[in-house]
Symmetry: C2
Amino acid sequence: MTKKWVYLASEGNKDMRDLLGGKGAGLAEMTNAGLPVPPSFTITTEACLAYFKEGKQFPAGMWEQVQEAMRKLEEQTGKGFGDPKNPLLVSVRSGARVSMPGMMDTVLNVGLNSETLKGLAELSNNERFAYDAYRRLIAMFGRIVKGLKGELFEHKLDEYKAKTKGGRDTDLTVDMLKEIVRDFKEIYRQNLGEEFPEDVWEQIRQAICAVFDSWFGPNAVTYRRHHKLSDEWGTAVNICTMVFGNMGEDSGTGVAFTRNPNTGENELYGEYLQNAQGEDVVAGIRTPMRIAELERVNPEIYRQFTEVARMLERHYRDMQDVEFTVERGKLWILQTRSGKRTARAAIKIAVDMANEGLITQEEAVARVTPEEVDVMLHPMFDPEAKRAAQERGDMIAVGLNASPGAATGIAVFDAKRAADKAEAGANVILVRPETSPDDVGGMLVSKGVLTQHGGATSHAAVVARGNNLPCVAGCEAITVDPDAACFTIGSRVVREGDTISIDGTTGEVFIGSIPTIDVDLAREVELATLLRWADGIRRLGVYCNADYPQDAARGRAFGAEGIGLCRTEHMFFEADRRPAVVSMILAKTDEERQKYLDQILPFQRADFEGIFKAMDGLPVIIRLLDAPMHEFLPSKESLIEEVTRLRCTGENPEELKKKEQLLETVEAMSEINPMMGLRSVRANIIKSGIAEMQVRAIIQAGCRQAKRGVDVHAEIMIPLVSHVNELKHQYEVVRKVAAEVMREEGVEIDYKFGTMIETPRGALTANQLAEYAEFFSFGTNDLTQMTFGFSRDDAEGKFLLQYVERKILPVNPFQSLDQEGVGQLVEHAVKGGKATRPDIELGICGEHGGDPDSIDFFHRVGLDYVSCSPYRVPVARLAAAQAELRHRGRNG
Amino acid sequence: MTKKWVYLASEGNKDMRDLLGGKGAGLAEMTNAGLPVPPSFTITTEACLAYFKEGKQFPAGMWEQVQEAMRKLEEQTGKGFGDPKNPLLVSVRSGARVSMPGMMDTVLNVGLNSETLKGLAELSNNERFAYDAYRRLIAMFGRIVKGLKGELFEHKLDEYKAKTKGGRDTDLTVDMLKEIVRDFKEIYRQNLGEEFPEDVWEQIRQAICAVFDSWFGPNAVTYRRHHKLSDEWGTAVNICTMVFGNMGEDSGTGVAFTRNPNTGENELYGEYLQNAQGEDVVAGIRTPMRIAELERVNPEIYRQFTEVARMLERHYRDMQDVEFTVERGKLWILQTRSGKRTARAAIKIAVDMANEGLITQEEAVARVTPEEVDVMLHPMFDPEAKRAAQERGDMIAVGLNASPGAATGIAVFDAKRAADKAEAGANVILVRPETSPDDVGGMLVSKGVLTQHGGATSHAAVVARGNNLPCVAGCEAITVDPDAACFTIGSRVVREGDTISIDGTTGEVFIGSIPTIDVDLAREVELATLLRWADGIRRLGVYCNADYPQDAARGRAFGAEGIGLCRTEHMFFEADRRPAVVSMILAKTDEERQKYLDQILPFQRADFEGIFKAMDGLPVIIRLLDAPMHEFLPSKESLIEEVTRLRCTGENPEELKKKEQLLETVEAMSEINPMMGLRSVRANIIKSGIAEMQVRAIIQAGCRQAKRGVDVHAEIMIPLVSHVNELKHQYEVVRKVAAEVMREEGVEIDYKFGTMIETPRGALTANQLAEYAEFFSFGTNDLTQMTFGFSRDDAEGKFLLQYVERKILPVNPFQSLDQEGVGQLVEHAVKGGKATRPDIELGICGEHGGDPDSIDFFHRVGLDYVSCSPYRVPVARLAAAQAELRHRGRNG
């Protein structure tokens, strides 16, 4: 028995990609799902390999099997291949196991010759259509099968088009097309020294050979080399019945989504054009009808299509983007694939489908991307208002969607002026050719940023994303002239002060104002449902970073299960306590310092009381002072300037003396590399009193709230530890002060002692740290800085973005955890911590806590929770659930 | 048979510390070595434990064994215990397995009573001596055995002394001593309600009980708790025959070293006092003779002692510090121990002994400490001149020997003035109450530093050691008044400009100048020999860090086998190339930058040619530019000051404009944490041309020297790599340029490509780096900085020294490698590098390369070489050999 080289669509399925290629397997799958797919069959990849093995000869039996399969197509369609009355036409196309651009295109209309041409003309009642199909076959065959240059045919066509009024394909008359067919055949003969084959079997045989040969065509080989794909796979050949939508009023063609891709509503969404081929829709000759109208125009077709849409969704278990043709009242599905959709639609569709029982809740959770959830959390334009603006023609450009969210404000072209106007109360959109570190101040006070140059990792994009600021970058259509304070697009000029609107989620730029709407999780029913399902799946806890009660409340509303990082620096910066803070830093003796610390204490206590109240029942992890002291003092540079000026003018000797003294102090405190200097736990050890004050404030706040019935879970966290003895020192301080305060307050509260892991040495000696620490919180920002030796402040402006652009780094390690390097330290510390203290609580509070890839890593290494900014909490909830789903099989 | 509770000295040996205690084992060892040791025996620690177990009763048979042993002592000495004619006297003392201060002292003269007293007086022909011995026994017994307060006896003694003219012990007359004996007995009776025991057996019995009881005395218990020693050890009791050097002209006492402890010469060195007890030497009544004189005075004793000294050295295989007594012509060795010696002596003795066959060469190498070698390498005072200064009384104080070396210069009390005077050509000794980071500039230009306060880890000590600068710290005897520009000691005042001399090796401070001598390894025959032996033992190579040909030559003279780190920054700083360097940095375009790089190239090439020539045949590892660019520009602070001044005065608008532009550039380049910013490999990637120029200069230099017959081994090293792609980028640059240059020069040279491992991420991903790097060099300075998150510049001034003082850190990790933390990264990188490239060359070029503890670690983890400053090379050679000896057994 000869080998089986040919499979009818009904004989295959989607798992036979290796043998039938991706396209062949897809056709088989659709066919067997009972979908109305034009009959087809596939010649296997094995046949292709055998063809080459035998010196470009069809392997024994293959041709016979092709002929047999063609007979089946004839039976299924009631047409005859080469039959002048009712001709069967087919397409021939390649299909490897993975899609490979650069391989052979499709040859359509195989089976047309001077005889069958007539049959087609009669059947379609459209001579023009038949000749058009024929001239296309000759050109395609010449080009794709025979390797002629496409220009040979195109130039000829252009000659004819030039003779028409409109100059377009559609302006060609039937007579012209007849002449073109004649001329094309002439071109074919002259260039190839042979006639275009009248024999339809010869057409198909040569087309098959051409597909096989294309496997070793230069484009395909280059593609495979580049993508490291094997030469040993071979390509399949798909032969598929042609169907035509231009066979009369009961024919037509359309494209439709099975659900609304904008809103996710469960309704058909798309367009239909009667008595037309797909290419006519593209050519835009006539306006198609909305798919809903089809119900009125052709209820039967509409009914058929509705049913098929249901079948498609049931079969593929997702919203489908469908190309279809109706040939004389019969619906044919040409192609179907999962449809692109907006974030909102993605969420609604996933949740609806789960509710409909089409997919499981876990599948719904797996299917929505964290980015889609993220988009939902940013302000967006009111959809109606945005549509109206588009219709008015106010949308002037589309750039790169660099940081999501929508914003409206006045255009300002200079960072300093942006800061001034923002301070004066204006909503500002900063517009720059590109941004640099000098612009950061202006960016942070703006509502949004628009740049002419720069990609997704440009300075503007990175800073904007890091600060939750809408940004459209690389909008090359506009020309920004910061000196003239305007930008131009075409003849249009937008000047400083003009109102513009940008949508960082889509990259759109508008003239004028568009109202935005904020997310309200309570009203986003589907999102809330999806996140609830995610909560049921995930193992990782999700906390938020919050320094103020209002942040804590927002985080909680977004689903945070605790505060993973409460920074205490901000409390030192607030205006009402600043004088005491400065005096405390300038204090010459321990006693003097203590005096000012006593003044700061009540402020800190009040801050903590507010946070404990907001997080009633949930853990609150408070980090002791981390910033270097000199951050609270004026800058050395400004003091040098002032002192020099006062010296020159001799104006105010008293002021001069005061400033000189302050400068001396600031100079004594200044550091060459402050990030690695006297700050954090080091300062809290060297300068006694500060940690004591903070612990006192925390425990007092806890005790007092506890007395009012709040369920307090305080966790005191020591930052920047690199040696166990630092932790031991702070452990003793905390234990002593806490015991003292609880005795004074007459109440005990639940509190824990722990440490950040944010120096490489802390990670390397985590086993020792766990002797004192009941919990670790990975500070992956600092850990990344020190592991790479990158100061983020300097690196992002000076080389990091270039590194990412030039692919020296695969990603910005401050956005997504460097699992290869920093990740080793995290894993090492997890193991070390657990070895010493098996029930140690492990979390991460760096920016990576909101990054899905990083969350996946943290899930894998066995952390207990991630903590991120309140707005990222929903994203983290989803990402944590997806991590669990992704690795569930591997663990079980 | 009862257990053996008592061991005669002849029955024990040095390995029986657990049973006989340290002292008992030592006595046994000396006895069995045939040394003339006063006969003795030891009651075991087991007896002590049994004593407590049985409720403070001697275990069965012990007392009988003590009596038996006493009979043996009587036989050996020909004396009788309690014999009024020829009394045997003994000492009774405790002795645990480790020396324990706080346990019982010795009781001397046990066996004296009113009868034997007379025999002793007659035998010694010295009634005064006998009564003096008796009153001492009564007081010691009362105090140590019976727990009476010492003052009871001392006050009485003082009363009698007050009656004499001189007021000293030795002024007491025989009659007075008789009265004192009577009064002491009275005190004893009144306070204890019993008589001082006349029965000599009762004396010894009680003394033994007292030694046992002292094991649980409060001092001993406290000591054991603190040092975590076991209560279960018990103490032994040593009973030893008393010998007396004051029995006539044929008696005497002395202290001697078996070799000269200053020079190491093989000659007896010490003092002898005829007809005297050891305490008389201490009391300083008479001037002792030098031991050499003994040969003349008493040739027989001298002969005996010379022979014993030889025996001692043969037995203990080291130079001994011996206490001895001659009793009526018979030499007794009371104590012997390894003698303290100068560094010079230590080296000479070790080498001589090996040459004499007393010890092996390996033992000689193991016995000299790296510190001793280090001391030899610093300038030292001419020994004659120093002795003369001491004799003149010019030595005014001794402080802490904080950093070795000797220096002479004028005292200056302010860092700024020190810098000025040094610039004017003066040799300056900076004298400060203590130093701070502000003083560093002044320190570095001084010849030495003297401080009143601060320990071995004080700022002054650390900076001085780091810069090879002699330093005496914590010299509390002097009072430094920087405002008055002087220091005082007693009534003496040393003012600014006065010449002083300090010896940082010993801590001595002198008035006036003392000439210093430099080390010349060629003349230090023993040191050279020892190092040659060390070279034969060590596995680690020893390279030196050198930036200039003269450093390279010095390192080579000290035995360096290559250059482990040639920094190229210095070449950029030299005056003749500075303008081109500055222009290169300020260049606005790649082309402009290239122009200036082309100007710098010949300078760099000349530098490298010099170094290759100096290191003919040895490897030279050259690090590409590492410093941040802005280090070559004026400081931001100075520019702000200047610009502000020029603006105020309005004087020179042109200059203002120039400075403003420069300030703008400097501000744009300035970084918050420059150590972790755009420098090193990062700058060499971002700013194209620099690495290319350096590689070109290196390879050109190599080729040209090779053509002149020099054997060139260049190794090009990339600094600060944290990601393999950085290394890959530089790899391609180096390979390309090197190939180009060698083609141009028409000669091939041997060169390698490698990387520093100095970021934690570099260490963590070493397996990847080894794909490009043929060698790793650990930059443990930066690696320590980033692993701890300590900026050394800031940390050492601001908290690190406090950390070490407060024991938060066990050592300064910049001096001795943090094996627990940073060491993990080094080990990880060694494993990773070898896994990828088994023959990878591994070295270390951080400061730790000269630290013996760190060298031991580098030996253990399997590096190939260490590299250190030229002056540390001999130290490293010895330390490397010792590491091999220390771990040889464990590896084999």
